[in-house]
Amino acid sequence: MTPTTPVLLSADKLTCIREDRLLFDELSFVVRGGDIIQIEGANGTGKTSLLRILAGLSQPYSGEVLYKDQVIKHCDDEYKADLLFIGHLAGIKGEMSSEENLAFYLKMHGLDASKAEATLDEVNLFGFEDAMASNLSAGQHRRIALARLWQSQNKIWILDEPFTAIDKAGVKKLEQLMLKHTQNGGAVILTTHQDLSLNSNDFSKIILEHQFF
């Protein structure tokens, strides 16, 4: 990580309160091109809330998220074009086939939808292209969603527990993909229960703790 790479995303004094519980208070950090940042913390410390705030899906109680030094509310379109968020829910429609699901997301990002079929191979869904997603398992839904990463042109990836539902070989593959992404100047912010097998120079951690007050 060279500190000279430009700051992509910065959190400025984020405070999050959910149902009268303070999750984190005045949290600040920056994400530069080339960073992989793992958010760590026990259950209920607000990892998912933080990711959703960074993605612009949730509003913090106070504080701002800035993309290239602009508050994300004010550069919504630009930020959304550079962001790929994969959350707990896969966002896969049961009424469409795996390929149609993936093709829809690729199309919406202005990418070549005809690559959907080949991309599904990357997440071990070869042979399931035409299967209706309602016949697939939740794990397979997540893999369809993750397949988007292989075609992604977005600079920032925000991934909530991306490694659940994929096997060891799959984890390795995804980690390599993240490394390649950061080498091209992208950034990854993720939460995960299992430890990353990456070299410790390749990623940094932000640790959330229970707040007592």
């Binding site: 309160i17 959910r18 149902e19 009268d20 519980r21 303070l22 509003q59 109680y61 007050f213």
Partner: protein, 246 residues
């Protein structure tokens, strides 16, 4: 934005400020209502057509005016909450809605009570009563939506949006109901005549109108303070306050 508003955007300051307002509002309201309603109900002239039943006017019209005014206030609070992200404005919606709904209900009940001697029926689909009924539905909508959310901050935002949507629709609903009423006039309905008010009536009317307005202000301030406490229960100053009272 608006520097003078800033100190009041602090929940603690507004809590104490409204606390100081309440006794004044309550006293002013009590005086105005005693004088206004006393004059109106006891001493103002009876109507040559409606007799003494006209006196309910001193209750009905202020309640109806305030029901609309409070909804407008709620929408303004909603706009403030959405545009300037002011959390206190969200609290004030929660404070305004039940008070507004109560005044709407009073307007409806007194309207019905007025209707009985005038039209011989408790309920007539008069344009104003109908509008007032729909306004009550709109209030219930805001309150129900607010209660449905567990997270207070989300509840406030959702209610702000709904209050704004409602206030844009309110005049449209009002005029369509008025138009609908004139269309179907054939039945029985004679609208409330716009009373050409004599000074004997105007004075008690204005007094009770302002009396009710201050009453509404008192109630809203009280609810507003409760809302602030509830939303800031984890703040040190609220905890200190709770200790003081124990």
């Amino acid at each position: 934005m608006w520097k003078w508003l800033h100190p009041y955007a602090n929940p603690e300051v507004s809590y104490h400020f409204t606390g100081k307002l309440i006794p004044w509002f309550a006293i002013i309201s009590a005086i105005l209502l005693t004088v206004g309603l006393g004059m109106g109900l006891l001493y103002s002239p009876a109507d040559y057509q409606q007799g003494n039943s006209v006196r309910i006017f001193y209750l009905h019209v202020p309640a109806a005016m305030l029901s609309m005014g409070l909804y407008l206030g709620m929408a303004i609070a909603g706009l403030t909450a959405l545009v300037w992200q002011m959390k206190l404005a969200e609290s004030s919606i929660a404070a305004l809605a039940p008070v507004g709904a109560t005044f709407t209900a009073i307007a409806l009940l007194t309207g019905a009570a007025w209707g009985k001697p005038m039209w011989g029926a408790w309920w007539v689909w008069d344009a104003r009563l109908t509008s007032e009924l729909i306004l009550l539905f709109l209030y219930f909508g805001v309150m129900a939506l607010q209660n449905a959310f567990e997270d207070k901050a989300l509840a406030g935002k959702a209610a702000s949006i709904l209050a704004l949507v409602g206030v844009i629709n309110l005049p449209i609903i009002h005029y369509s109901v008025e138009w609908w009423n004139t269309l179907h006039q054939g039945a029985t309905v004679s609208k409330f005549e716009k009373p050409s008010m004599s000074i004997d009536m105007l004075r008690p009317f204005l007094l009770s109108l302002f009396g009710f307005a201050f009453l509404a202000g008192t109630l809203v301030c009280m609810r507003f303070r409760a809302e602030i406490i509830e939303r800031n229960s984890m703040r040190p100053w609220v905890k200190a306050l709770a200790k003081e009272h124990n």
